[in-house]
Symmetry: C2
Subunit: 449 residues, 2 copies
């Protein structure tokens, strides 16, 4: 087979690179090679357990590729020859390409401890078959231990808590859940939320061993506790999938991801990489950061797809921001950019402002719940560094005002006098909107500096 553009990987990064390239270069032939034939929408995996009527409802739609005239092949790529511009597949085929995009994602980490391979212990993969097995087990489970209090672990816990008659234990190495995305006051709010749903939190705990005879029966924690378990879900991050790239001699970055420039170009001519497998540089520090979000991958995909036959759009992605939202129980939590924790770690001086208001006005309207916004600004430049939100469903888009603000260099003064839309049934009052008031609080602190 020979194609102008070959994309390896059928996740969001791969699919959107292919779609973008085909839309910008309609005369080029484009092919997506995906190892996983039954790939699912990654962000929605936890919701296959209960929220979705049928796990099959989460299959990644691939019809868009075909409709766009893009060929899709299910096969694994086994080796890459950058000089010959050829890719070998595990079905024996070879593919010649003019441009190649590696969108190979990440592999979930396994716990390097005894018992990690027992029956009933799952890492979170992205294909339907093993996930359907996980869903079936989860539906029958009585004692579930989730290892990892990041967003995947916490979302699984939240989703399992919708079921009755199941004991849920969430084990986290760090002092708080979701510590990478939120500051303590939001982590504490999330922890209360999870605990109110009956989820038992085990913080600053390491899993020492998973025990059982063939099948898992318990999980031993560093603190000495032993949790009964008929299902264990491991959500402790992973590693970028770079074996193919490394073996082909492509440069890897310090964090093990595939090195790319501002246009997602690897060290090899005409080979690009996007998504979890590709290097991301933090928006403010340029340090490597593992922002493994589908939304980040698709932004990179649009960058790669647009620039694949010569750079046409300059410096559009000036660095990665982690823009993130989730929902536990009835409350949404969202974050974009740097937290206080991250600022302190990186030595970035900041001021913060926080404000809360009902997300309807007046606050006695039906459906009102408190919307809480925290914003961080650089203490001299006044540039928006990051923000965190909790509240009703509209927090999921409110955080995107913050995400855009970071990317466009919004300052604390911009935000203080920003013109926004408000409506009694849809938002906080303009007089007390927490996005504006958080900026105003930060300004008051800046005046004191």
């Amino acid at each position: 087979m020979e194609k102008d553009i070959v994309v390896v990987g059928g996740g969001p990064g791969g699919v959107i690179t292919a779609m973008t390239a085909k839309s910008v270069y309609p005369d080029k032939s484009v092919c997506v090679i995906r190892q996983i034939g039954d790939g699912v929408i990654p962000c929605a995996i936890p919701y296959m357990i209960n929220t979705m009527a049928d796990p099959k409802g989460n299959v990644m739609p691939m019809g868009g590729l075909e409709a766009a005239g893009i060929e899709a092949v299910v096969a694994g790529a086994t080796s890459l020859d950058p000089a010959a511009k050829a890719l070998a597949l595990d079905n024996g085929d070879s593919v010649k390409f003019d441009r190649l995009v590696l969108a190979m994602g990440s592999n979930p980490a396994k716990l390097p401890i005894p018992g990690a391979d027992l029956e009933g212990v799952f890492t979170v993969t992205k294909s339907l078959a093993p996930l359907s097995e996980l869903v079936a087990k989860a539906q029958a489970a009585t004692n579930v231990v989730i290892v990892g209090g990041g967003f995947i672990g916490a979302e699984f816990a939240d989703e399992l808590a919708q079921k009755t008659g199941v004991n849920i234990h969430l084990v986290e190495l760090m002092p708080k859940v979701l510590q990478a995305a939120f500051d303590d006051e939001f982590c504490d709010e999330i922890q209360k939320n999870l605990e109110a749903q009956g989820i038992k939190l085990h913080l600053t705990q390491k899993v020492e061993a998973i025990k059982g005879d063939g099948k898992v029966s318990s999980v031993a924690l560093s603190g000495g506790q032993e949790l009964p378990a008929d299902l264990v879900i491991i959500g402790i991050g992973g590693r970028p999938n770079t074996q193919l790239a490394a073996e082909a001699g492509l440069r890897l970055a310090d964090d093990g991801s595939i090195w790319v420039d501002s246009y997602m170009r690897t060290s090899a001519p005409d080979i690009f990489a996007v998504g979890d497998c590709a290097l991301k540089r933090d928006f403010f520090t340029r340090k490597a950061v593992p922002v493994w979000l589908a939304s980040t991958a698709t932004a990179e995909a649009r960058n790669a797809g647009t620039n694949i036959y010569g750079i046409r759009v300059l410096n559009q992605i000036q660095g990665s921001i982690a823009a993130f939202s989730t929902k536990f129980g009835d409350t949404c939590y969202a974050s974009a950019g740097l937290t206080e924790r991250a600022c302190e770690r990186e030595g970035i001086r900041y001021v913060s402002g926080s404000a809360t208001a009902p997300d309807r006005h007046p606050g006695n309207l039906p459906g009102a719940s408190p919307m809480r916004v925290k914003l961080l600004f650089a203490d001299r430049a006044g540039a928006l560094l990051g923000g965190q939100v909790s509240g009703g469903d509209s927090a999921g888009e409110l955080v995107n005002v913050i995400a855009m603000g970071i990317q466009k260099g919004v300052t604390v003064r911009d935000m203080d006098m920003m013109q926004i839309a408000t409506h009694p049934k849809l938002s906080s009052a303009p007089t007390v909107h927490p996005l504006i008031n958080a900026a105003h609080q930060a300004l008051a602190k800046l005046r004191g500096k």
Copy 2:
């Protein structure tokens, strides 16, 4: 009485100017003089009829003023002497000021036709007493005619439609409802929504006369139809409340509003004006525009309050954008910046892009509804000119991403590769997010130009 800062007007613009000035200049004495002792939250007036259990629930909270150490006085201002820096009140008092802020709002227009003063005909004021009377009439009404298909009229119609046994007629002079805020496809969607609720639309119709013997009994339209009516609500805009300013010799703008500079300073030294009574310049054309939104007023208020003792924050409001959201039935509609209609009127060349996707992912998740986004960009500069959104409740904050984008000069390329937060339960998928895809559609058109 003598105060450093006197604010005339107790609406959102007046209150936030006072609060901001007091927070920036805590040593200054601040006083708010409001004519309406029982003022309500203006945006929520339609929802007093049905959504709120009690109309009193919409009283404008004034506790924040007192808590901030700001005096509040209920009185009307009868004359202003800019040279003497003195204001006469209708209670006989005189107030000396060092800085004055006019936040006197607008007065609703009356229909200049026979019968406009009949019992049962209401304009929409902002005080509780007449509104409570309107609410009581509305709750007993069988035939309601609403004159004016702008957002106030349409919101009243939507709110009345929640009641059973009431015939609702909405009369609009223009060919579409909400034509100032939306393009035809959105207006059409809104009209279908209102009609599905049983509201009868009468477009391109003028009200010729309101008939009745003491009390209203019918409304005669220019097309010849006569609509039975026991309640008529007039929502046809109004006039800036400028009598005091004009009599004091302050400069008025061409559109009749109080002329102000970029810092809300009037032509008289040390006198500011904010909100509906003050001149607004369109963000793109600098022409006078009547953007009478509470959110616009509060942005101006923060500008005036911050800059009231010398300009400290330069050019923060570069022009007014109408950023607006509303909800009819279960669907939200929102708009920010210019529409196609406005671009054509102003001779601004543009490209548009439109995209629709479910606001959950996968789209089969509970609560999913279609989110539709239309974006307009300048055809060479690529700058974001405006956007319109329809969909679930999160449209109310999604439009603020667009509002911020306009104010910060976001381009079509920025938007195409914007990093955003997405979540299965909160937003469209990152692969098909309509905000991004609308930009991508516009880009495709730009390539063809």
